[in-house]
């Protein structure tokens, strides 16, 4: 039941009890860029792409509770520039080589890059050394592309009930680790049908031998803005959950 309203960029948006600003925005068809958020999972609030201004203060739309009368700014020059910078940060901290990445065209990081009009990496690259885990017969883990959204962590823990992934280390040395004595995927119970194998927004976790089933040029973001795709997928969930 709709109980109240807030505004986003001047547009009146209704919200339900317990909604975050992201929930309300998505249901109303307002796209707020995001990478670590996926409405199927507990909000996380780490990528900070969904930073919006709520009554003058910056908040993460995916975790901040909606409240009556809030004035939310979303599509502003300042916020869009901040989102571009954050996207650039995500690119330079890892090793993202789109032309040789099999996720290219289906990658949300790349698509957000297009959306925020990111034309270069801007910052010096970190070129970190990160291990690839190709041990599993069906799943590849390429840590070079990990953006620490923890969607695989949440999916494996909350949906698959296997706790395969976690973040270890600290700061810029953070890394995705595997819950097995050898630290490799082959010694976990993970299967290609697990939720965790299909939630990675980038190309860090991919199913082997499927990379080029859809040719480059015919992939999702080759033809659609991430804003439309995201709303199309997530409006259903937002509506379904609360409707």
């Amino acid at each position: 039941m709709i109980t109240n309203t807030l505004t986003i960029d001047g547009k009146t948006v209704p919200f339900h009890e317990g909604d975050t600003i992201m929930d309300a925005a998505t249901r109303a068809g307002v796209y707020i860029p995001h990478l670590c958020h996926n409405p199927e999972f507990t909000p996380h609030g780490s990528c900070k792409l969904c930073t919006v201004k709520v009554n003058g203060r910056n908040c993460s739309a995916c975790t901040f509770p909606a409240a009556a009368g809030q004035q939310v700014l979303n599509d502003t020059k300042e916020l869009n520039e901040a989102r571009r910078t954050i996207t650039q940060m995500l690119f330079v901290e890892g090793n993202h080589f789109c032309p040789s990445c099999e996720k290219s065209g289906n990658c949300q990081l790349q698509a957000v890059g297009y959306f925020v009009n990111m034309l270069d990496n801007h910052f010096p690259h970190f070129f970190p050394h990160r291990d690839i885990d190709a041990s599993h017969p069906d799943i590849l883990l390429d840590r070079d592309r990990c953006i620490f959204c923890e969607l695989c962590v949440r999916a494996s823990r909350d949906v698959d009930g296997k706790n395969v992934f976690a973040i270890s280390g600290r700061g810029i040395n953070s890394r995705l680790v595997i819950n097995s004595p050898s630290g490799t995927l082959k010694d976990t119970r993970m299967e290609a049908t697990d939720k965790a194998a299909h939630v990675c927004p980038v190309g860090a976790i991919i199913i082997k031998r499927r990379g080029f089933e859809v040719p480059i040029g015919e992939r999702i973001y080759d033809h659609h803005q991430i804003s439309e795709v995201s709303l199309l997928n997530e409006m259903k969930i937002a509506g379904g959950e609360h409707g």
């Binding site: 909000p43 996380h44 609030g45 780490s46 990528c47 900070k48 792409l49 930073t51 910056n58 993460s60 975790t63 509770p65 901040a82 910078t85 954050i86 940060m89 995500l90 330079v92 901290e93 910052f123 010096p124 970190f126 953006i147 620490f148 706790n163 992934f165 976690a166 973040i167 270890s168 280390g169 600290r170 700061g171 810029i172 040395n173 953070s174 680790v177 595997i178 819950n179 097995s180 004595p181």
Partner: protein
């Protein structure tokens, strides 16, 4: 290498000693580290199985906290404080001397496994540095002769308990006492006073006093306590307000990690009863039965002393079941040691750490007052806040509020260090000017003062009339003085390294931004900066400040912003005349090629053209 049976037994005994509780994970890992010099892979499996937690939680925690390591430390693990206050006292030179004498490189373990050496963040002995830690225990007043002795002791394998005691002497150095320090309360006096007045009336006194949190953020203490008291029991009983049966917790934040701050160390050393009494009064008011002192790992040496104080209070009937014979007033306190993570000073990260997890700040709301330790309403206050609350409970809110300014009542205990004659502890009423403080501690030829530590503000000479107060210069207690011989950019560079090292890595702007900031400062200080870099620096700072997840990221750019604003000419003087300079040394990058080709002629070198 697999664990031997004996090692496995050691690990399991430690787990058992801590009640096989996952919340004790950091305590367990600290002990394992002490016994085995590291947390071996196999020990992680043993611990994870025993505690029924995922192995990745054990690994994640081990690799998060600086004092835990997956690689073996030496039998003597020596850490030298890398705080700017220790730099001023010559810590960097001493470190190279130490390494030279021990024949070991920083960050490594000597081949014979006897000793390892590394840098660590501020150890809180800034008034008696250069300081360090050996196997976790604080070393004060290091100098060449002391280092010579340490090298001798290490090489001969003399056990720590046979080292000269004065190596470990930590002095209070209290130079000025005020409302909190002048008359420490007699154990039990504030509690008895609160009981006779009634705890509701005592809460009114706290409210009347205007006491604000002493950690730096300055939230009204009475509000925090009230929110906790009025919180419903979280998920356990939704919808019920003011449920007195729900567990509540009182936590003393003794994770004093802000470089240059050491006043909590002195409060815990010499005013521990007052601090614990403040916690006990808080517990009575909010209805908590369990308290924690989250003691930073660097203050390990204080643990036995604090345990003794807690024991004494149990004997005096001031802790435990039926405090002061009042049925139903049950409260006890457990000490929880940190393991080297500045971020755990942030209250929600501290709670995560108390729960045996990585110190990653939570999303707020909900705030700890409603959803804190194990999801229950929790008050987290600074050491000094509790010390003040005890005095207020004894002497009344009016007494306290009669001092200070309109928005900042009472007094503030400062930790003063750096370029002055008498570093140490000074207590001032709020409203005191920086100039007055500088005179008292014997500071001369002062260039500027870093008020509130790296996360605070660098103020210049023309601002010495500014006042100590939440509405002007807020500080958690750090007050670092720099004279005119010091290099502002080097100070700033040290702070950017600190934040990059301490960022937890949860959110993008702080994880990546603090490292970018560090690299930018390195580039400018190395003489490779250009005008473009200053613009870059400002933009980057603004982004990190405005989009980071918690206080660490939101303040990490302050050192750069506050010095750039006050000393643009010092930055400009370091820049090259060209409009763009690559972030690396062109000629330096060719070194490997020169070695491989055996060339060193003029054509094997490159120089950046100066336009």
């Amino acid at each position: 290498m697999p664990l031997t049976d004996a090692e496995r037994k050691i690990v399991l005994d430690i787990v058992r000693r801590h009640g096989t509780k996952p919340t004790q994970l950091i305590q367990i890992l600290r002990n394992v580290q002490d016994e085995l010099r590291c947390v071996p892979d196999d020990a992680m499996d043993v611990i994870a199985t025993a505690l029924s937690v995922p192995r990745t939680q054990v690994q994640g925690v081990t690799e998060f906290y600086s004092f835990l390591s997956t690689e073996a430390h030496g039998g003597y693990h020596i850490l030298v404080s890398d705080s700017i206050s220790d730099h001023l006292l010559g810590s960097r030179e001493l470190m190279s001397y130490l390494c030279q004498q021990l024949r070991v490189k920083p960050g490594t373990t000597r081949a014979d496994g006897q000793v390892s050496v590394d840098y660590t963040s501020c150890t809180g002995l800034c008034d008696q540095g250069p300081a360090g830690l050996v196997n976790g225990y604080a070393l004060s007043q290091l100098d060449r002769s002391r280092i010579d002795q340490i090298v001798e002791l290490v090489n001969q394998g003399v056990p720590l308990n046979q080292w000269p005691r004065d190596f470990f002497t930590v002095r209070d150095n209290i130079h000025k006492k005020g409302l909190l320090l002048d008359q420490p309360i007699a154990p039990g006096s504030a509690l008895k006073c609160s009981i006779s007045r009634g705890f509701d009336a005592t809460f009114d006194e706290i409210e009347k006093s205007g006491l604000r949190g002493r950690g730096g953020a300055g939230f009204q203490t009475a509000w925090k306590w009230r929110f906790c008291l009025e919180a419903s029991a979280g998920s356990a009983s939704p919808g019920r307000s003011n449920d007195q049966t729900a567990p509540r917790y009182v936590v003393c934040n003794a994770d004093e990690g802000e470089p240059g701050t050491f006043k909590d160390r002195v409060l815990l050393q010499s005013y521990a009863h007052q601090v614990v009494e403040g916690m006990t009064i808080c517990a009575a008011i909010v209805g908590a039965r369990q308290g924690f002192i989250y003691l930073r790992g660097e203050y390990l040496y204080l643990q036995p002393h604090l345990e003794a104080v807690l024991d004494e209070r149990r004997r005096l009937g001031l802790l435990g079941d039926s405090v002061l014979d009042r049925p139903g007033f049950d409260f006890d306190i457990e000490i929880h040691l940190g393991a080297g993570a500045y971020i755990c000073g942030e209250e929600s990260a501290l709670i995560e750490s108390l729960e045996g997890k990585r110190g990653v700040p939570r999303n707020r709301p909900p705030y700890p007052v409603t959803y804190g330790y194990l999801g229950k309403p929790t008050v987290v206050n600074n050491v000094e806040t509790f010390a003040a609350a005890a005095q207020i409970a004894l002497k009344g809110g009016d007494w306290f509020a009669a001092h200070g300014t309109e928005k900042s009542k009472g007094s503030k205990v400062l930790s003063i260090c750096g370029d002055c004659e008498r570093p140490g502890i000074y207590e001032y009423v709020f409203g005191t000017t920086v100039g007055e403080i500088l005179r008292d501690c014997g500071a001369r030829d002062t260039l500027g003062v870093q008020v509130g530590g790296p996360s605070g503000t660098f103020i210049a000479e023309r601002e010495f009339g500014r006042k100590l107060a939440f509405e002007d210069l807020a500080t958690g207690g750090s007050f670092m003085i720099f004279d005119k011989s010091r290099d502002v950019l080097e100070i700033t560079r040290n702070f950017t390294h600190f934040f990059a090292h301490e960022s937890c890595g949860f959110c993008t702007p702080c994880r990546v931004g603090t490292s970018l900031l560090k690299n930018e400062l390195d580039k400018i200080c190395a003489g490779h900066g250009t005008a473009g870099d200053l613009v870059e620096l400002t933009n980057l700072c603004t982004l990190i400040k405005s989009t980071s997840h918690c206080g660490l990221g939101q303040t990490a750019a302050n050192p750069v912003l506050s010095t750039l604003e006050r000393y643009p000419e010092l930055y400009e003087a370091r820049l090259k005349a060209i409009s763009f300079e690559p972030g690396f040394d062109l000629d330096g990058e060719l070194e490997i090629s020169r070695q491989l080709t055996g060339r060193n002629d003029a054509n094997a070198h490159l120089q950046q053209e100066e336009a």
